[in-house]
Symmetry: C2
Amino acid sequence: MSDHLVVFDIAAGPVTVKTGTLLTEAARQAGVEIVQPCGGQGRCGRCLVRIGDGKVRRRSTLRLSSADVEMGYALACQSVVEDQVAVVVPPQEKVERRLSTDRMVAEVTVPDSYNYESDQSIKRLCLSLVPPSMNDQSDDWGRLEAAIKRQLGAAFSDVTVNISLTKLRQIGQTLRKGDWKVAAMLSVDPRPSGPHDVQLIELLPGHIPEDSPLWGVVVDIGTTTVTVWLVDLVSGQVAVQTAEYNGQISRGEDVISRIIYASKDDAGCQEMQGLVLGTINHLVDRACKRAKAQPTELFKCVITGNSIMMHLLLGLPAATIRLMPFVTAVNNLPRLEAKEVGLNIHPEAVVDCLPGVASYVGADISAGVLSSGLDDSKIVNLFLDIGTNGETVLGSQEWLVTCACSAGPAFEGAGVLHGMRATRGAIEEVWINSQGWEPVYRVIGEAKPRGFCGSGLISLLAELFLTGIVDKGGNFKTGLPNERVRRGEHGLEYVVAWAEETHYGRDIVITRVDVDNLLRAKAAIYAGFTVLAKSVGISLGSVEQVLIGGAFGKYINVEKAVEIGLLPDLPWDRFQFLGNTAVRGAYLALLDRKMRARIQDIASRMTYIELSADNSFYDAFTSALFLPHTDLALFPSVVKELSQIKAPA
Amino acid sequence: MSDHLVVFDIAAGPVTVKTGTLLTEAARQAGVEIVQPCGGQGRCGRCLVRIGDGKVRRRSTLRLSSADVEMGYALACQSVVEDQVAVVVPPQEKVERRLSTDRMVAEVTVPDSYNYESDQSIKRLCLSLVPPSMNDQSDDWGRLEAAIKRQLGAAFSDVTVNISLTKLRQIGQTLRKGDWKVAAMLSVDPRPSGPHDVQLIELLPGHIPEDSPLWGVVVDIGTTTVTVWLVDLVSGQVAVQTAEYNGQISRGEDVISRIIYASKDDAGCQEMQGLVLGTINHLVDRACKRAKAQPTELFKCVITGNSIMMHLLLGLPAATIRLMPFVTAVNNLPRLEAKEVGLNIHPEAVVDCLPGVASYVGADISAGVLSSGLDDSKIVNLFLDIGTNGETVLGSQEWLVTCACSAGPAFEGAGVLHGMRATRGAIEEVWINSQGWEPVYRVIGEAKPRGFCGSGLISLLAELFLTGIVDKGGNFKTGLPNERVRRGEHGLEYVVAWAEETHYGRDIVITRVDVDNLLRAKAAIYAGFTVLAKSVGISLGSVEQVLIGGAFGKYINVEKAVEIGLLPDLPWDRFQFLGNTAVRGAYLALLDRKMRARIQDIASRMTYIELSADNSFYDAFTSALFLPHTDLALFPSVVKELSQIKAPA
């Protein structure tokens, strides 16, 4: 194997790599950022580069026309270096680094019942020790441990307080520096049976005022967005909320792409881990600066997220999650320490990763169910997280069933020609005039439109259907007296915004292919809860409350979602939008040991139904591939609406 | 501060150091070994070097004559670099690297009662798991944990099996590599109350024959000698015994010197830790080679040693141990992992450091008491570890009192002009003819004599006293018709070996100063158990058994030791020599959970009596500063012997 020089036009200098190295890897070594939304599978075509001088071997040109290839274009993730080569990197479409905060900050009130003394597992004790003397020669740790146990109370007389070797090396100096007055930060966890599990996390010289903040942090790792809340454990108040795109996005937009990227080799796994850790640590730093806290003053972290995010954060192998029979490495994670996870908070802070149920029903759902209150409800609830995995829970305080329906990323703006995330420039709502078929739309951030976000697509599809532009099978009606319906590169399409109105100066359209993708996505979700209801022998009509979680869910228009058959046709007052239920559930678990125990209980109580092994799912799915559904009897309100609208036409 | 070039004649190259750097530090940087038996205090004079070119500032010349200073000699540990300087390093007296094994290998029989199934905390389970399928999608860890708990039995149904993140990352691959047949190595510890503490240490693909060895290791860190036993936990057999001088010797021969060296700065502390770890890891490697085992196959390590050795091994600050009121950082160490300690065995192997009682009554004594059986004895026992600290325990199954008497290192051959350790060339026994005052002696290893070891000194002192060469106050009798008693550089002395008989070609003598040191040492030990007996209101005569521990104790001649008043005057059949009781106790703790619990019980039951705070100790000490004692009524057998010997004279 020989070495070859690779020159990227935008790199600081050339790099030398071995025969067979991928251009993406060479770029990484050269410090050049090349986005790989599909995780390096050659599927998305976003890592396009142009070969200036020299040659590469193209493993796949799936996304390239022969003209592209002739012009020297290549996919960096599919191009193998075999000779000296010069590469031109086109400007990469940057992920906007700051989320619009008004869409992310949730109103959080501290639960009325929260009582720091009885509920919180992190304790701060101010201790005054009797100094050693010739009459009392106890060892430093023995002296300190006895004082801790005394202050914790009689129930702790049999407990052994745990301490790390690192901390043991420091306590002597701290005790003397504080003149035997110290503040001890402890984690005090009840065990299922027997004595408490007590760990000394930090010892500081001197005493600390009782009401000064004691920091904990909540992390929700979404596939797209990472959310961090900084919480004062004494008052229970959320001091800072902050969020950022998950740094892994550049290596895969959906979870499957990320698994593939992370499973390539150890470096891929470590890179994925480093990317999300980078995002979290950056957010924690930002939150600390705002609250004027030091990251080392954060003594506890509760983490939630789907199973794939959890595996990638911890460097756990995720490959088996996407292969039959779809198993995770671990659902119930042991208590970890910040330093082994790589979080830049107190190195011995407790890191509590919430439990998941299955490969595609993760800790975000366990936490979501808690914060929705479903597990404690006397009535039948349907809990939905509308997204790529379409996690669904049906149940009450008596029983819980769950499934994940592989909806695909259409509702997250991917797999749709002009789809995008719900950021500045996204069309989030569309209205179409049923007479002249002209649209009106609303854009996020008062900007020129750049594409559609999920709620925009739902709204648009409903309007296309109600106004007859597409039929119940998703076929565009030709011959309408409006030039917006036309034949484009991808077949029939409808133009929502003309080039001159838009940010990029090109028409924004929805195509037949897009409609099909949306139909499959909504059919999968509808089929999911249909199967759940059937499995427990109830009808969807008997669902008394529909709880919609996920940051995205918050912006769905129920009416439109029912019109396309994404949500069941129930009275509107049965729908509730809960926003990011995962982060709220994790927040409750951070505050209150009883809530944490309830999440554990939820995870173990949920009966998981594997849809890909369920014959009835395929039937339900194909029946739901229509607008709103094959069986119109399931959607009486839509039938009524159609009759009203179509009448004047 | 400027930089100065320092050139050591035996170094590979010069080093550059800042003004104020000690020569010993410069030597370390230059890779030159300079021994510092006193720990760099300028007391022992063993780090003598000669300044060739340039100058140093001498902080202390305590050990140098003005002639020495004029000739350019300096103590490396007391010489500060202030200018460019060239240093000549005289050949360093090397510690002999191999101990004579015949003196170290103990006969060990596996306790009859040992039962691997019920007693051993390390378990090896061979598991056959049902592979995951679409009907059973449990996560890998959930599947494995359930199988472990099933095999451990019904008592473990409520237990959570602990596992490290590192191990979690590996189990998936191991399970599949072994085709769902695996061997799990677990640590299963009972807690004081509640469920067991179970940890998965290692998972290997495939099954392992039931009777194949499962390795554990015992480490006894003596101030002088480190002993390592490699043990098969299934059979209980000790497969290999090996020992080596403690690598810290070059930085201090006694514990006080070591504390001083380690407390200088972080580098000193880390160096001490590194030195003893080096010794242990070297011994473990050697033991593994002999047993054809891999170090990573060692899953448990039990460590014993005095408190100072334990602190220095773990990098714990030891400075407070030697300062009033003499407290340790920690007596009861938490369970540690090999990787945090720095032991080159399985990185997650359990490291169990046995508990100590006080600064100068360490885990070696807790373990020693266990292996002596004293704590379970119906009669009153006296347990002695004759050495620098003279740890003493008095008691029975009903009560235990302990103390440490600062005897000094005389019995270990230090602080005596021609003292040495019990290695090749050491005079270990002396007989003196009571008529002509001519000596006969026995040397270890059939070699020419080089000096006296501890047992040789006891024997010699007894003979000097019985033959009247020294009186009961330790004064040499002048005017004897034998040229062996003469006035030397250090006052009166007795020549045991003439220059031509010896290894170094110089007379081997015992001086008045040596005798005084020995008197103080034996008086401290005698006073120690006198005070203990008094504290519980019994007479020494009621001691029914004297148990003498320590590798050194094994070679003491009871008769001689009683004659000098080191041991109480009791019938000889009440004395038992137990050899290295510390390593035996640790071995029992490695095998049997009940034994480990008993050591904990011993450590907590022992009432420590601080002699330096005890007025009666000073009285007892001064009374014992005579041969055999001020109160001859305490030594009837010696009185009788004296009358018999002196009669013919």
